[in-house]
Amino acid sequence: MSEDIKLIVNGKRIDGRAFDELRNIRIEAGVLKNADGSCYLEMGRNKIMAAVYGPRKVQPRHLADPVKAIVRYRYNMAPFSVEERKRPGPDRRSVEISKVSREALESIIMTELFPRSSIDIFVEVLQADAGSRTACLNAASVALVDAGIPMRGIITSVAVAKVDGHIVLDPVKEEDNFGEADIPFAFFIRNGKIESIALLQMDGKLTKNELIEAVKLAKKGVMEIYKLQREAIMKKYIVEDVE
């Protein structure tokens, strides 16, 4: 859009990061009393709260599936989470994000173990600063583990952007707004190894080779985030062990 904003200066990004550097990430598991599993996560200036309820009885009952659990995912932005107040409630963007995020998690949750049940995942964006859908998925994954939901592995998510001709990891708002492309990824990780792609969207303009480079960079990023997700889960349960 506005070409006069310089997003890369002397090989560094607008916030001083290298091209392949993530923002600071803080993850804490089990932070809510009511939910069966929960997680608070910060990714740069994104502040995310995730909660998991279930497996529980499906409400309304007619939605129940006799052979497996249904998974529901609600991505919701708080009105105060962005510069200009967001009207409360779902808009078209949140509906789409909720759909693709749910699909990513559905593919690894062992829903067949809980017929006629629902697994409800609620994520609230308390503050947004680009990449909120990826931050939400990372938080939701940890909350699912915290809730003890059986899964084939874990979902870890990060976005990659093209900014001033460079492929960069985990873009901030300015890079997202004025960059040339944005590609949110989520990978399925099992036994510490990336297995496959669970979520993939893209908008902007990229060549095939740039896209391949983006996948590579995203894979590097998610391995770092995966370690932090593990640590957050370990931390909660190890503390309880010692006491």
């Binding site: 859009m1 078209r92 963007r93 509906v95 789409e96 909720s98 759909k99 693709v100 749910r102 699909e103 990513a104 559905e106 593919s107 690894i108 590609i183 399925f188 297995e195 496959s196 792609i197 669970a198 979520l199 993939l200 969207q201 893209m202 908008d203 902007g204 303009k205 990229l206 060549t207 095939k208 896209l211 391949i212 996948v215």
Partner: protein, 257 residues
Amino acid sequence: MNIITDVRKDYILSKIRDGERVDGRAFDEFRKIEIETGVIEKAEGSALVKLGNTQVIVGVKMQVGEPFPDSPDKGIIITNAELVPLASPIFEPGPPDENSIELARVVDRGIRESEAIDLSKLCIEEGKKVWIIFIDIHALDDDGNLLDASAIAAISALLNTRVPAERFGVGEDFPLPVRNLPVAVTSMIIEDKILVDPSKDEKSVSNSFITITTDVDDNIVSIQKSGSYLLKEEKFYEVLDISIEKAREIRELLKEV
């Protein structure tokens, strides 16, 4: 709510395993595409697209309105899709559900990100008046892959659009400045096989889709993985190549519009 019997599903699946499709197509073959433009006189632009038995109509209406504060000198695109109950036994009346929202947003992204419309030429008075383009996708018959049909119909309707400047008292009518031809290609992935342009029959056996939209220079302008499944990295690159190639073929049809 699936109306296709298990026997039929088994048949479709066994065919695919044998490297065949129920309608006799090759895996990388689209159904026949027919484009007819200017079908709605009251609209500024319109197109009816048939993709096999899938039918969709897109109408473009334009209005003068206020620009967004962050792009005061640019026109606005608004894309909407209605999956009306006339088009399928599983569509229900009511506000748009996640499928119609996703459909509209993926079509929108292809047009927007390929910069198919020169929005800077749609500014009437900077900061005050710009053209708003409403792209309305209206499904008529869903026999699978409404998305690609809608994307073809949308760009065809835009190519057929005249800006109604006289009616709004802002100068003479002119053709909408269209400068790119985005093409969406949806593939279904099933047991390591890639089937482009899945029909409704085929969709009953798999819920794994990916839509890749490319522009005239083979740039990728939009990707949407859809459905709960895990996509292997190598498969993704394979789909990418197929989509680029198929889009080139479809783009030839669009050049005749």
